[in-house]
């Protein structure tokens, strides 16, 4: 038990565990101290000076995000000195900020803009020199615009400490300080995996995805194209946030309605190919065990993780499942089976994947993801991009009625729904593998692999054998797990890895929630809750029991791992070291 500390904040008594910062303690008194550089679990460096407060008896103001509470301390968060200091700090930050707020992707969702409003600042009080930086568009995933950057270092902390990639850092000093890749050669020349965690950490509009919205609108208005959208498992759990709905609202029905209102398009359920992935992957695992192929097997649905292996641990490529991700499987199914069945030339089919992810934009463009010169998936857009299309079309999202996904690709299992949360793919695979190996094993819930902790381990007894599994999310955690496996300290049969902490619900393409949400709520768990609810409320909970999957094999793919399935649903990887 930690010692409890008593203090007052604006004369309100507060009692918090020792080691708590003033900023955290203030929340107990219903006060949110503003900040820019502080982000819970990510960045705690006390550098922006927006969170300053007065501590009675102490000279000068202190940065509340790093200042620990003390017994009997009297804190004042709203004195004239505090307000003046914060206001000046914000005005100084704005003096070099390119205030192109009208055309900024974060126009209505900018922490700096909000603070400017809250403090009634004069944006022209200090006329700073405005250095012009070239916008870094060197990756297909993430765009960096230093002209909007306020040097809070939340992106750098995310990239270096959470993801352990180190693609960007702080360069030069004083007035010339800026964020960039080493030797300013652009993100595309670094080990950046395009996860986009820097984007969701950014308080302003300095980081955003490379938008593909225009291409999608062009395809929709092209009379020669048949346009198909499909949505990843976690989109229904987060899209509502872009329309000011509470975090944790399932908007699946409204989402389908809204996409159908964008134009003459079909909307399919990507959860279906999550089921297909599980059937292929569970079979691959069983095959690997029986034929002494490399173990542990690592999941392969996350393109950020795949790139991480290709850049850092190419020797582990044989351990990656050869299964394509659900996105790529869906594209392959549409451009083969679906086109043949409906007499469509694959060239005329335009496939739009809606994903919670920026790395998927890279995945669609991989050489391995083309079949005879035709891409499996034409374009991948993020949850945020979809929301902008819906807004641009003038659709009043929150008042929409529900619509079901289009047939024949509508029905999916609960196992597929939970793909969007860390541990979900593992649980889905275990449900199927256990049942395939032992027909009497009907175990559905594998609770040990649930939850938002970065590394989870479990042992399950399946068909008389103990199966050791591990689940990691966040690439720093992935690195830890790999190092433990390489050193022989740990031995697993099957390992699930997602590049983003918490899995796809917290992906780099998801709605950006401000520090005031990320610092005080359990964003990842609340979003994941939507998926686990959808799973437990449904009838169909195992991927291999999905009747559409059975039809796909009966009519086209024959059986998991068979020639056609292998050619279209599996892939290869390449070293990028």
């Amino acid at each position: 038990m930690k010692k409890m500390i008593n203090l007052t904040i604006n004369n309100i008594p507060v009692c918090v565990p020792e080691g708590t910062t003033i900023l955290q303690a203030a929340k107990q008194a219903n006060i949110e101290i503003p900040s820019l550089c502080y982000l819970k679990d990510v960045n705690c460096i006390g550098s922006c000076r927006v969170c300053v407060v007065e501590v009675v008896g102490r000279r000068g103001l202190v940065a509340s995000c790093v200042y620990p509470v003390e017994e009997g301390m009297k804190v004042l968060t709203n004195t004239p000195a505090v307000r003046k200091s914060r206001k000046t700090t914000i005005e100084l930050i704005l003096s070099t900020h390119h205030k192109k707020c009208l055309s900024c992707v974060r126009g209505n969702n900018c922490e700096l803009q909000k603070l400017s409003y809250d403090y009634g600042i004069d944006e022209d009080r200090f006329k700073g020199e405005e250095p012009i930086y070239e916008i870094d568009k060197s990756t297909p995933c993430v765009v960096r615009d230093n002209n909007k950057c306020i040097n809070c270092l939340r992106c750098v902390a995310t990239c270096n400490n959470i993801q352990t990639i180190g693609a960007i850092g702080q360069i030069r000093r004083g007035f010339d300080v800026h964020i960039g890749s080493p030797f300013e050669t652009g993100l595309g020349t670094t080990d950046c995996v395009g996860c986009g965690q820097c984007i969701v950490a950014c308080p302003v509009g300095a980081l955003y995805e490379k938008s593909n919205i225009d291409e999608v609108w062009d395809a929709i208005s092209d009379p020669n194209k048949k346009v198909i959208f499909f949505t990843a498992p976690s989109i229904a759990a987060t899209l509502g946030e872009c329309f000011s709905m509470p975090v944790g609202t399932n908007v699946e029905g409204k989402m389908v309605t809204a996409i159908k209102m964008l134009g003459d398009v079909e909307v399919f359920n990507m959860n279906l190919t999550a089921d297909l992935t599980i059937v292929e992957e569970a079979n691959e695992l069983i095959q690997r065990v029986s034929t002494a192929k490399p173990l542990p097997m690592f999941t392969s649905c996350c393109p950020g993780w795949i790139q991480f292996v290709e850049h850092n641990y190419p020797e582990l490529i044989p351990n990656l499942s050869s299964c394509k991700s659900p996105q790529q499987m869906f594209g392959a199914v549409l451009k083969s089976y679906y086109c043949q069945k409906n007499n469509i030339d694959p060239k005329d089919l335009y496939v739009v994947s809606v994903i919670p992810c920026t790395a998927k934009k890279f995945e669609t463009a991989r050489d391995e993801m083309y079949n005879q010169g035709i891409a499996d998936v034409d374009v991948a857009i993020t949850t945020r991009e979809l929301s902008r299309m819906i807004k641009g079309a003038g659709i009043t999202f929150t008042s929409l009625p529900d619509t079901e996904f289009d047939s024949p690709f509508a029905l999916a299992s609960g196992a597929a729904a939970i793909f969007g949360a860390t541990g979900g793919v593992m649980e889905a695979a275990l449900r199927t593998a256990a049942n395939l190996l032992d027909g009497t094993n009907e175990k559905v819930e594998f609770m040990d692999v649930r939850g938002t902790s970065g590394i989870k381990e479990a042992t399950y007894r399946i068909n008389g054998t103990d199966v050791d599994v591990c689940v990691a999310s966040g690439l720093g955690n992935a690195r830890k797990v790999i190092e433990m496996i390489k050193s022989g300290q740990k031995k697993y049969l099957f390992v699930e890895i997602m590049a983003c902490p918490g899995g796809c619900v917290n992906g780099g393409g998801q709605p950006v929630q401000s520090d005031s949400v990320r610092n005080y709520t359990e964003l990842k768990a609340t979003r994941a809750g939507v998926l686990y609810n959808a799973d437990s409320e449904g009838e169909l909970r195992k991927s291999h029991e999905n009747p559409i999957i059975k039809t796909l094999y009966d009519e086209y793919f024959e059986a998991p791992g068979k020639a056609k399935a292998h050619a279209l649903l599996h892939t290869t990887y390449q070293s990028r070291k």
């Binding site: 070239e134 270096n160 990639i165 180190g166 693609a167 850092g169 702080q170 360069i171 890749s181 080493p182």
Partner: protein, 167 residues
């Protein structure tokens, strides 16, 4: 995007062995990157991307961190230094006496900017802060030799005299 070093790296295996010894020495010490960078600059004369990569790999840290520290301190140079190092004082006294015009004239004469090195490796130019010779303002130095009361014309003459010495 612009790169800061041109690919003119001519490191020798001997230099690399020396650098790796230095890295071993400081690898485990907190804050060891600074002395490693200092010694690397002593070995190579500057800190090109090739050298920074050896340091990042050897120290087990990201290249972005090495580059961040190397660009933070003005004593570290990312470009090779010339055989003759020209420093033009831009301190207050020299500046008001027209030191900027002197710098411009030298830049034009050599066809490079401050902080750069000529293609033949002969000269590099840097702007420096007060040399403490304000009475002689405007002041420049070549290889540490101080030249006072310069004019753009006399500065160019001085540079040419170094060219002549080489011939």
């Amino acid at each position: 995007m612009a790169t800061e070093t041109k690919s003119t790296f001519r490191g020798t295996p001997k230099q690399e062995r020396e650098l790796k010894k230095v890295i071993e020495k400081y690898k485990k010490i907190p804050g060891g990157l600074m002395p490693v960078l200092q010694e690397a600059q002593a070995i190579y004369g500057y800190l090109p991307v090739e050298v920074q990569k050896i340091i990042a790999d050897g120290m087990g840290i990201h290249l972005s961190e090495v580059y961040g520290v190397a660009t933070f301190y003005s004593q570290f140079s990312l470009t090779p230094k010339g055989e003759h190092i020209i420093s033009v004082c831009l301190g207050t006294a020299c500046y008001v006496k027209g030191a900027d015009k002197i710098l411009e004239a030298i830049e034009e004469e050599l066809g490079i900017k401050s902080g750069e090195c000529t293609a033949d490796g002969m000269f590099s130019i840097e702007a420096c802060r007060c040399l403490g010779a304000c009475g002689l303002a405007p002041v420049m130095t070549v290889d540490g030799e101080v030249y006072g009361k310069c004019t753009p014309e006399s500065a160019v003459e001085i540079i040419r005299s170094y060219m002549d010495k080489e011939d």
